[in-house]
Symmetry: C2
Subunit: 230 residues, 2 copies
């Protein structure tokens, strides 16, 4: 379930969902080819390489307890952050913006992407399935260590539900325990502080751009990313 | 198993194999972007669209008995044929060949691809697992109707092991029966006649090119495609 609706994987099966994904990716490459801008064409290809190798990395580190904040930030930078910076950087290049503005918008997208992903990972602990339109606690269930889980492991290194879960003990019970511990501690706040910090960096990236409606929209978007509940 | 060795799907699992596939596809797009040739860049994107929608089509028509030779040829033209013509057409474009040579080499790749796929589909009935380095009879097992199976259905419209297999009766037994019937009839020859015809067309496409070592290699390749046992 995503956005409250069954996924293509569920409706058509995984084999067909993969093919549809390949088709859509190729379609986006065709559209980018139509811009005739070689820099943007190459940027898309390189971003897909970064994202797929990042996801591969994540898949190989599933159920591995030895992951630091640093590794987490690296992982999401090669996922959501580079996807969003692809969008903002490409937009700037195609608008023939000066190189400094291209760099500024690339940085904005990158930092916004980190903030967005940190909030997404928080909401997987503290959100509700109704609001999110997708199952909650799915990162832990899939063995993915996100920032809240890493902070929880730092705080309780020995007796920890995440540790027990990753050792395959009483999975559902330990997922619920971990979510409860995160909700009832300052970990949520600490994670939000990280997200807010990246949002502030994103807005700072915009400071060299002229103060107009477009810039105000981008700043509003950064505010929304931290405030959103879905 | 492929080429006698376990596949990535088997070794790493399907989720990681998909990500590796995405990575390799993006890598090829990066390499193509490096040619700076917009026509070839777009050709690659469009070919991936054709192949993925063709495979999607094939997945949706699995276990459907109502498929004609015509539909089969359409299906493999959007798969192997367009993949091989991508290679030959791109090579010609990047070598700055005159437009007539580009068309000739595109046609050669296309017809060679049809021939290659028909032979592949024959060998899935009459080859051996040892020679092929992959399981035999896998098309039928996956519910894919290829040329030998379509001819078998035309010849015995009522009582037919393929029909029974697709109705989910005694699967292994009916796969073996279908393979035996194809082996011991003129269907194999009939399919090889189709493959040889496309190889002849492929070689005919080369007739406007100068008679040199390169052209002779391409003609030898066409011969090999029909003669190969693996």
């Amino acid at each position: 379930v995503r956005r409250g609706r069954p996924t293509i994987n569920k409706v058509w099966g995984e084999d067909k969902a993969i093919l549809l994904g390949d088709y859509l990716l190729a379609k986006s490459e065709e559209l980018v080819a139509d811009t005739q801008n070689l820099r943007v064409i190459k940027l898309l290809a390189q971003t897909v390489m970064t994202i797929s190798s990042g996801e591969l990395n994540q898949a190989f580190s599933a159920f591995n307890l030895k992951q630091t904040r640093q590794q987490y930030l690296q992982r999401i930078s090669g996922k959501t952050a580079c996807l969003l910076s692809l969008a903002t950087e490409s937009g700037a290049i195609l608008s023939q913006a000066p190189e400094k503005s291209v760099e500024a918008l690339k940085g904005y997208g990158y930092n916004l992407g980190i903030a967005f992903q940190v909030v997404d990972d928080i909401l997987d602990f503290i959100g509700t399935e109704e609001e999110m339109g997708k199952p909650i606690g799915s990162d832990l269930a899939q063995g993915t260590l996100t920032l809240p889980a890493i902070l929880l492991l730092e705080r309780y290194p020995e007796d920890n539900p995440v540790r027990r879960l990753f050792q395959n003990e009483d999975r559902q019970r330990n997922i619920e325990l971990a979510m409860e511990l995160v909700r009832n501690s300052s970990i949520t706040q600490e994670c939000y502080a990280v997200a807010s910090d990246y949002c502030a960096r994103a807005c700072h990236n915009l400071s060299l751009l002229p103060d107009n409606a477009s810039r105000r929209s981008l700043i509003k978007l950064a505010d929304y990313v931290v405030k959103r509940r879905k």
